[in-house]
């Protein structure tokens, strides 16, 4: 199934209109971010309402590195922005993982809002509400000067990001099926019992938090390059809410759920915005129905249907 999805995505730019291809790019970006987000939420059981913070750090990292410091290498931008996100995540996580459930959620929300106001107030560094421009990066040292912006984005950049998603999904798959991943599940299921079995609960939560911050930053870098702009909206708390929305929509209990959620959300939002100005309302109702009728999201629904088909 995963292989088929990658094939479809690989062929997609050859057959679809550029508009739809530019929609896939943010979906790829969110897929990567949500792989990380869901390591914390689905696997470890910690629901963050502030992870847009790390998406924004990725975006601003790309902006500062490309427009202010002249770093053009995409790989360098990814690694440096990811490292910045991990560095900022460390103190946030050290405080937050002492708490669980709603307290963890509120604390991460507070950190996200703090960062958002920082972006707004410190005009000289962050460009305030206009943000900072993000310049086109060089991929593996090649800068594709002959291509215009759209051709670059839906051509080499698209394939690069797709490859990146495959790579990071593979890494996440290995993580989740490693002893480390099993311990995270144990922590989600029963932290007290896990402790008595010798699992360092807080330390493992911390590591999961840092990994999730890195993935979110990589997603943020791609988002920013796609729009050519890093703006404070990326750090706004509603954006954190969208991360939760996509994950629940696709199904947090499944590895590929968040990816399905990301693609569904991006395309649904784009279609709804074309049809009605009340698209937020429709999205809200959609989430409501998903939570009530299919709490395991679209992937949960798909699994149930598949099981029924096989039985019939």
């Amino acid at each position: 199934m995963a292989l088929l999805a990658v094939l479809v995505l690989a062929v997609f730019p050859q057959v679809a209109q550029p508009y739809y291809i530019t929609l896939v790019l943010p979906a790829l970006a969110y897929s990567i971010a949500l792989l990380g987000f869901n390591l914390l939420f689905g696997t470890t059981g910690l629901l963050s309402f502030g992870h847009a913070l790390f998406v924004a750090i990725g975006a601003y990292g790309a902006a500062v590195l490309s427009s202010k410091l002249g770093v053009r290498s995409f790989e360098a931008v990814l690694l440096l922005s990811g490292a910045a996100a991990v560095a900022i995540a460390l103190p946030v996580a050290l405080l937050s993982v002492r708490y669980v459930r709603i307290f963890f959620g509120i604390l991460t929300l507070a950190f996200g809002m703090l960062f958002h106001s920082f972006l707004f107030k410190f005009y000289d560094i962050t460009g305030g509400d206009t943000g900072i421009r993000v310049l086109r990066p060089a991929l593996l040292g090649m800068d594709f000067k002959s291509l215009d912006k759209t051709a670059f984005l839906i051509g080499p950049f698209y394939y690069y990001c797709l490859a990146l998603l495959v790579l990071l999904a593979f890494v996440m798959w290995r993580l989740i099926h490693s002893p480390f991943g099993l311990h995270l599940v144990a922590i989600r299921e029963n932290p007290r019992k896990a402790e008595y079995l010798g699992v360092r609960v807080r330390r493992f939560r911390l590591i999961a938090f840092l990994i999730s911050a890195f993935y979110c930053a990589v997603g943020g870098v791609i988002l920013a390059i796609n729009t050519g702009q890093a703006d404070p909206e990326l750090a706004y708390w509603t954006h954190s809410g969208e991360l939760v929305f996509m994950t629940v929509l696709g199904g947090f209990a499944s590895f590929f759920g968040p990816l399905v959620g990301a693609f569904t959300f991006i395309f649904l939002k784009s279609e709804l915005m074309g049809v009605t100005q009340y698209w937020r309302f429709v999205l809200g109702v959609t989430l409501l129905l998903i939570v009530i009728l299919f709490p395991r999201g679209l992937m949960g629904l798909a699994n149930d249907l598949w099981a029924r088909v096989r039985r019939a």
Binding site: L182, V185, R192, A194, E195, L197, V199
Partner: protein, 258 residues
């Protein structure tokens, strides 16, 4: 010979309330020590102090000669003490094999392997099967824990503690919530498994005097936070005053189990 576990003058107070007062006891290799007493006598507090969860407000608590006051369950598990809870503690969504594997991985220091595969680790796999077999759970290895019967959940809870290969295991009412027909089966199972697995001492917190009488090598009775008696079973049950002090408030419970 240094005792495995030792408390000297341990006290624990919460504000004005004294939960433990001057408790001194020592547990040596080969013993199965039962801690008994009416509700509110301080059994749970003592267990929490012995497992490093609570730091006593007075006195010393040692495990293998080292001070373990308040060191916490993770370090204690690594030093060789495991605990099974009164209320069943399992990981509901994990299978029996995964649950035991958590303990095996942490005990063998493999927890931090970020990219290794749990499934293809033959050593872990064998050890998981071995532990499951001891507790008669080998047919349920791939079953989700939440779908097990109450008795099986209890066994899994204890089995996962055993998978740490502890030197001392602390059992907090291991048969609570289990039908009275099953309780002897579970106890026998646990004690046999402990002997085979090389566990050096067992601490049993128990209300059920049938079990206490049958399995203990020594009985420590607590009332109101103090040690009332510390005797061999024959002497303990031979002293009606002490039995009354401990059991008197539990007559209803005894009748129920009889």
């Amino acid at each position: 010979m240094t005792p495995l576990i030792e408390t000297i003058g341990v006290g624990k107070a919460y504000g004005d309330f004294v939960a433990l007062d001057d408790v001194s006891l020592s547990i040596a290799e080969g013993e199965l020590v039962s801690i008994v007493g009416p509700n509110g006598a301080g059994k749970t507090t003592l267990v929490n102090v012995l497992t490093g969860l609570l730091r006593p407000s007075a006195g010393v608590v040692r495990f293998k000669g080292e001070d373990i006051a308040g060191i916490g369950p993770v370090k204690l598990a690594r030093r060789g003490m495991a605990r099974a809870f009164q209320l069943v503690h399992i990981f509901p969504a994990m299978t029996v094999a995964e649950t035991i594997a958590v303990a095996v991985l942490s005990q063998t220091g493999k927890s931090r392997r970020l990219f290794a595969s749990v499934r293809s680790d033959a050593a872990v796999h064998d050890r998981v099967r071995e532990v499951a077999t001891i507790f008669g759970l080998e047919a349920k290895l791939d079953a989700e824990s939440r779908l097990l019967s109450q008795g099986e959940k209890k066994l899994l809870d204890i089995a996962s503690a055993f998978a740490l290969a502890p030197e001392v295991i602390l059992l907090d009412e291991p048969t609570s919530g289990v039908s009275s027909g099953d309780k002897h089966g579970i106890m026998r199972n646990v004690v046999d498994a402990a002997r085979r697995a090389g566990v050096k001492a067992i601490i049993l917190v128990e209300h059920d005097m049938d079990l206490v009488a049958e399995y203990s090598s020594r009985i420590v009775a607590l009332t109101a936070g103090k040690v009332l008696a510390d005797r061999a079973p024959a002497e303990f049950f031979g002293d009606p005053e002490i039995v009354a002090a401990v059991v008197g408030k539990m007559v209803g419970k005894l009748k129920k189990s009889a």
